[in-house]
Symmetry: C3
């Protein structure tokens, strides 16, 4: 059993941002030399997410508007009593999820034709980290 | 370490459909002969989901109505500028999630008494695929 | 490859409750003696959830109010035709998710500085179970 762990760092220009990390995960898989197994991709911050969906700019805008509608910025959240202003970012993270598991078959990410892996930043403009752990043979 | 991978195909009659796949996953587990480990069940399309909940028809109707309320069909999504009409299907997929990991103990899916595994189709009437990967000993 | 499985039981005082189980998961990891791998933490009931986020009481209240807003208690759900009254609990479980996978590196839960593991009860005051499965070397 092989284990290979890497950390990716992000520091986005915008408060919210959606970054396609499929190529980075693919490179890490190749480095690991694992042919059969899984890769866990998990945000290490509680105001960010990881999800799998389409690399289509209109849809990404839809996702952003939808999350903003369901968990709006600048509402008077209880969390803001601490001095924080990012209550919405926590809820957006819970909504979209913070981790995905991708199957590895024949040395490749076994994704469908349109599946792309995204890092979703909901409270950016600071350094944040994501863990990628490959497990298999 | 054993790895056993199968793909399930779906081509639903309806635009949206919820299909109990617990028995299929159980059969795949038996074929794999894995006694201890995990099984990953993951939709390979970005307008479908996989979730675990109750096999009760009223609740399934509630889930469908709830998802339709939160991510309605036929809204003027930005994604539709591409000619697609399934913006809601993507959001429903993100809402419900596209994958589950089920523990395997003593050669069985280690589920609670009411936990059933569902494939959720949000843009059906076409061929779609799901991956099942069993890992363990 | 080592496998270590434990079950945690809950019987909450309140109908809805959010319980930090990070220390319990950490203890189980130490018992397993796994240094590299993953731990699956998964609710075995369909009206409970498991998520990772902040241990801040205001935010926990925000999460509870947010879930109640999106999937309100005591609505006339179809599920209630069975005599049940917990339709909202099922939807809240689907919203927050019922499982997380935590990476293990150097014998530790490889979590970010603010990541805490929570059991979310949405229909409590009865005995419920959660599975913790550690896999690795």
């Amino acid at each position: 059993m092989k284990y290979h762990t890497e950390y990716l760092w992000f520091n986005t220009k915008n408060h919210r941002e959606y970054i396609n990390i499929t190529n980075e995960i693919d490179k890490i898989l190749k480095t690991s030399n694992v042919k059969e197994g899984i890769v866990l991709v998990s945000a290490m911050h509680i105001t960010a997410g990881v999800y799998i969906n389409d690399a289509e700019s209109g849809l990404i805008q839809d996702i952003d508007e939808w999350l903003e509608c369901i968990a709006p910025f600048d509402i008077n959240y209880n969390h803001h009593m601490t001095g924080e202003t990012n209550g919405d970012s926590h809820l957006k993270s819970l909504m979209i999820g913070h981790e995905v598991i991708i199957p590895i078959t024949d040395g490749k990410l076994d994704l469908g034709p349109w599946q792309q892996i995204y890092y979703a930043e909901f409270d950016g403009q600071r350094k944040k980290r994501l863990i990628v752990k490959v497990m298999g043979d």
